[in-house]
Each structure stands twice: as structure tokens, then as C-alpha cells.
Symmetry: C2
Subunit: 279 residues, 2 copies
């Protein structure tokens, strides 16, 4: 723990203790009866401190926001550790040119994981669907993880690794029609959960997914705290965030941009899924 | 332009040409009358291609989502270039441990900029408020930039650099009360614009800010396309994204976490602002 972590942690502890002493949240009030003075961690509900091992799997050309949205939310889980896993420790370049340094490799990543999350992308995701080392790591991690999750076209990688066979799932709206090639059942919803698989729709759906996961791993009050910290009271300037609500010409334009990519992803996904069943 | 950029670019051009040929968007239809076949760039409205120079200024302990939200939106501006500027080219660690490699330094950053954007943070932002080299760069870049922008507590850095004196502005709700020490006038709104200063509220407000900026730099149809690509139709699981809508105990808890930080930021901000007026 760095000095900064320690200080932040101490501030959190004091704040949590203070709110508990005020007796506000129902579950907390009970523990607070015997609450020691603010700086004592024992004043916090025990279940607010976790020890989850969380990993984001990144690859060249991943979409940074798919990863950073959930990363923000999950990094606020006190006691949890987050790894950024990639094939090597070399910095990884996102589709939009952001360069991120991994903290672990396929060989050094923690196992088993409590949460594995894979972001999407476009051409980079297509390349990853063709990369057996990436799919092998994802398959092995996914079989053992408590929560197997994706954002955006990341679900195509889960599918390619054979992890969505027989599961309801979603993806970016552009690639959602591809899910059946992996034995998955496309389902409605910004975030789709089926047993321990959680898949989120395109890019920004990662925020909604991760906040719900925070609530599950802690409780609603905790998640509300994280949401307030993120000041997540969105006000999109237009109503164009879904293919059904955007002007038809805009939906047609964006859909048209990905005709080639979707065709290539269908082919690569079918081949990968076949390999995953053989393996 | 990398091969990936080139392919993506070609796909965009084809898609834009196709939608123009369909005559859908009003402004586009006019240009489309004489539209050549799909792969010809000249079929796209000329103003959809820009050449903006955009820079995000990062520093140790910055909040990655403050930067990556806008980065996603602005990276979809065809023809624009984005720099990640820091004091040195050494990788920079975010408050939550994400390590990002800058692409330019204070010495090598483009000037003048069309957009300069500074993300917030907590202890890292406090340290930056005390760092004259960072404030000097920001002041110089801000005085020449077309759009001077911030997300979250990034506005405290704009203020420390003397760039909000006499401007209406906002910040993360926790730090908004500090704005007057910089001569700024706290204003309502998820995104506050006063002349060429644009400040966004906490963390996730960067998405709304940047999408509005895309609309300004291109047009509404273009921004709607970016919004649809991001599938930005948010569904926060709780109503806790603003201090007024969150359960009072949650607001009190989060506010309580930052009493010490806010006090330190007030002191550091006042000192920096005094130096910026002397300079």
C-alpha cells in the first residue's frame, strides 16, 4: 500500500465510521451501536471490506472506455485488487491510441479470479478472436472465475473462447446478431446476466454493468456512494444512444460502417468457437 | 496514419458516402446531389473532416475516467489529432493505478491548441495545484487555446492557473464551493460554458461535455453518430448520481470523505491563484 493509498484508505475509514455513527443506513446502524471513534476501521460494516481479485484482459486495439468505465467503479471496492492483464508486459495501444501498461501477463495473472472482464474494440477485437493464446487464457480464467464479464464486443471474445455456449448474452448493438454463432442467446437489456456471465451492451454500458456489480459485491448503499463519487447522473445531449432512438439515417450510417468488420468477425468467431469445442 | 487508422478511415468514408447518397441528413443531402461512388471522400460534407489539435494534460494521480470519457468522444473526430501531454514522457499512474504513457511533454506539445482538457483527481490534483511547472504549462496553453476545458476537479487546476477568473464554471459537487477562490462564479448545469471555457461536473460528466463539443465542432448528426457508436443510452442502476438525489446518508458519507482534501485544496488553490496573478 503506497502512502497515497494509505491516506485515502484512512479517509474512507473515517468517513464510513462517521456515517455509521450517524446511524443512517439501516444495515450499518446495527453495527454502529458499539461504534468506536472515527479512525477505527472496525466501525465499518465488515462486508464493505472485500478481497476480490479482479482482472481486465486487454489486447492491442481494445477500446479504452470499455475498460476504464468499469475500472473506475470496481477500483472503489475497498480491499479488492485489480490487475490489467495482457499477453506481455509491453504497453498496449488502444484503438484510439491510448497506451496502457499491463500489470500482469497470462503467466503471472492471479488465479482463480473473482471477476474477469474483457473490453471490446473493432479491428483489435477481430485480431484477438484469431489469437489462440488470448482465447486460451480467457477460457481458462473464465472457467474458474466467479464472475465472467464483458463490455461491448468483448462478448464476442467470451463467445470465441466458448464461454457463452448456452447462455443469454448481449454485445454492442452492431455485433449482437453474431452471438448465436457462439451458442449464445441474444437477450434484451443494457446489461444481461445469466448465472455468472454478465455481458454489457456497447462501450458506455460498462458503467451501468460495473455499478450493478459493486452493489452485488457490497450492497446498494455502497454502490450509491460510488455512483455519487462518479457524479453519474448522465445527461446525454441527444437521444441517439440506441439504434431504435437515433435518427434512422444515423443508425444506418453507423451500421454501414461495420458491414465488413461484422462479416470478418462472424467468420473468425465461428472458427474460434469450433476450435474451442475441439479443445 | 497506421494501417489500422487507414482502414478505419476508409470504412468511415464509405459509410458516410453511403448515408449521403441516401439523402437522409438535411445538410448532407445538398452535397450528395453530385455524390461520387462510395469510396470517394469528396462525398462527405466537408465540415465533417477537421484538423483540430486536441490535448489532454495528465499528471500523477489523475482520474483516468475523467480523461478517457472525453477522449473516446473526441477521438472520433475525423482528422483531429489527440495528444496526451505530461511533464515528462514517463508513464503516468492514475489515482486508481492505471498507467498511461504520454505522447508529448510540456516542451513538445502542439501550440496553439484547439482544445485543451484537464481531468481531475483527488490527492494527485492537489499535488498538481502546488506544481508551478504544471500550472505554467496550463496557463500558457489555456491563453492560446480555442476551447479551455476541464472535467471534475480539473476545474480547480484551471482556476489555479488563473484561467477561470471572471468566468462561470463548475466542478465535482464536492469541490464546487471552492470555485470562488479563483474568481470563478459557480453555475448550475452538468456542463457549464462561459465564452471559451467549458467545465464539466464530476467524472462521468466528461461524456456529456465531450459529446456536446463534438456537436459544436462538427454538427448534431455527427455527434449523434458518435453517441450511437458509444451506445450512450445510460441506465444507472440507482438515482444516486447527484448530491440532491442520493440518499442523504450517502451524500453525507461521500462529502465527509473529502473534508480534509477540500481544506488542503482551498489552501493550495488560493496560493496558486495568488501566484498566477503575480505572474
Amino acid at each position: 500500500m503506497s502512502d497515497m493509498d494509505r491516506r485515502r484508505f484512512a479517509e474512507c475509514a473515517a468517513a464510513f465510521a462517521a456515517v455509521l455513527a450517524s446511524g443512517a443506513p439501516a444495515r450499518a446502524a446495527q453495527d454502529a451501536a458499539a461504534a468506536p471513534p472515527p479512525h477505527d476501521m472496525s466501525a465499518m460494516p465488515a462486508h464493505w471490506m472485500g478481497e476480490e481479485k479482479i482482472a481486465f484482459l486487454i489486447y492491442p486495439g481494445f477500446t479504452a472506455l470499455d475498460m476504464i468505465g468499469p475500472h473506475y467503479m470496481l477500483a472503489n471496492l475497498m480491499g479488492a485488487t485489480i490487475e490489467i492483464v495482457a499477453k506481455t508486459k509491453e504497453p498496449v495501444r488502444s484503438d484510439a491510441g491510448l497506451v496502457v501498461t499491463p500489470t500482469a501477463t497470462f503467466e503471472t495473472a492471479s488465479s482463480p479470479l473473482d471477476v474477469v472482464c474483457i473490453p471490446g474494440g473493432s479491428l483489435g477485437t477481430l485480431a484477438a478472436m484469431r489469437d489462440d493464446a488470448t482465447l486460451d487464457f480467457l477460457r481458462a480464467a473464465g472457467r474458474k472465475a466467479r464472475h465472467v464479464t464483458s463490455v461491448c464486443t468483448g462478448s464476442l471474445l467470451l463467445g470465441s473462447a466458448g464461454l457463452l455456449d448456452g447462455y443469454r448474452a448481449t454485445s454492442h448493438w452492431v455485433t449482437k446478431p453474431l452471438l448465436p454463432i457462439f451458442g449464445a442467446v441474444p437477450a434484451d437489456g443494457r446489461v444481461v446476466r445469466d448465472r455468472n456471465r454478465i455481458t454489457a451492451e456497447g462501450v458506455t454500458a460498462g458503467l451501468d454493468f460495473a455499478l450493478a456489480l459493486v452493489a452485488q459485491l457490497r450492497d446498494q448503499t455502497y454502490a450509491e456512494g460510488v455512483q455519487l463519487l462518479a457524479q453519474y447522473a448522465p445527461e446525454p445531449p441527444f437521444a441517439a444512444g440506441a439504434p431504435e432512438t437515433a435518427p434512422p439515417a444515423v443508425t444506418k450510417m453507423i451500421d454501414g460502417m461495420f458491414v465488413g468488420l461484422r462479416r470478418d468477425m462472424r467468420e473468425a468467431g465461428a472458427a474460434a468457437f469450433a476450435r474451442s469445442r475441439g479443445g
